[in-house]
Symmetry: C2
Subunit: 194 residues, 2 copies
């Protein structure tokens, strides 16, 4: 018999999402989350740096997929093509089955400014990692940062659309369309997909 249940962080993450969704983020204390899975507040804070962080458990893999999309793009690809490749790689992390769960999670974040701030910070970290990946391919500054930030912006616009009620296209398809709009906006040459 094991002394403690395994997967502590995952259990806390699920419990937190559940409580935040039903009772609200501010109305839920860290102690309550911990108690709901049979742990103490102190243990909660050993696993997560702060109360917000519990909602972002597992994001690491997503960032990794996004960055790998940049790393594995053909060496000769232009930055904008690399962004497109990274977008496809990142979008693969959100198959359609996940749409409903993603929507629920985003709803919690959208309802609380403190959580929005943390999300923005995570995206900034992602953009920093992407910029570094671009530099590793030989892209200079400020092009690397511009490409990274643009990629994140396009992704978030596409993601927001993806979880919208009634939307049925895949995240990858939506992202490709938004990237086309960006090209049209700044370059003026390629028209956005219909």
């Amino acid at each position: 018999m094991v002394r403690w249940e395994p997967g502590t962080q995952e259990r806390l993450h699920r419990a937190a999402l559940e409580l935040f969704a039903t009772r609200g983020y501010e109305e839920t204390t860290a102690a309550e989350i911990a108690q709901s899975v049979g742990l103490t507040e102190r243990t909660f804070f050993r696993h997560f740096a702060d109360k917000r962080e519990v909602l972002f458990h597992g994001q690491q893999l997503f960032v990794q997929a996004f960055v790998e999309g940049v790393d594995t793009a053909p060496p000769a690809a232009a930055p904008i093509e690399v962004v497109a490749a990274a977008l496809r790689s990142a979008a693969a992390f959100f198959p359609d089955e996940r749409r409903s769960r993603s929507r629920a999670r985003q709803s919690v974040i959208d309802r609380n400014p403190a959580l929005q701030e943390r999300e923005l910070h995570k995206l900034a970290i992602l953009a920093t990692a992407l910029a570094e990946a671009f530099r590793a391919r030989g892209v200079g500054e400020p092009a690397a940062t511009l490409a990274a930030d643009s990629g994140v912006t396009v992704f978030m616009i596409a993601f927001t659309q993806w979880i919208r009620e009634g939307e049925e296209r895949s995240l990858s398809d939506i992202a490709a369309g938004v990237l086309g709009e960006l090209r049209a906006l700044t370059g003026g040459s390629s028209a956005p997909a219909a």
Copy 2:
């Protein structure tokens, strides 16, 4: 004789910046900031929603300048031209005399993740306001959001460069250059300014 000194928020803002810069953000309590200008902690929190907010006092005018740049651009201007106009308007808020003070303030923010989160949030609010201004001009979605986000991204890259030690170009000039790089990156037509 007045009962209280005027300009309470401004005094708190200055005192906070001073203390954060010398002692560090986390090592400075809200009560200390308040006491340093002869007030109590309770009064501090009547003027600022939280401890971070004191550092962002006055940002409203900057956002206003940025948005007005969009509003006052020629009706026929293409979105990318409108972004350029908004950038000039926003950059006018940071004349070269302000470079040193801006650098000091940014240094405080860069040293603390909590402050970075708040700054990101402020930028997100700015981007939202800009997107609304674009929509008011008849720009649809996602173009409006893309233009707004791109404008903010370009501004921040330029701002970061502007406060760099040794940099002597004006913020406006730097921003114009970065915008050119963005066009080159996504459109591929116009080369960045040398």
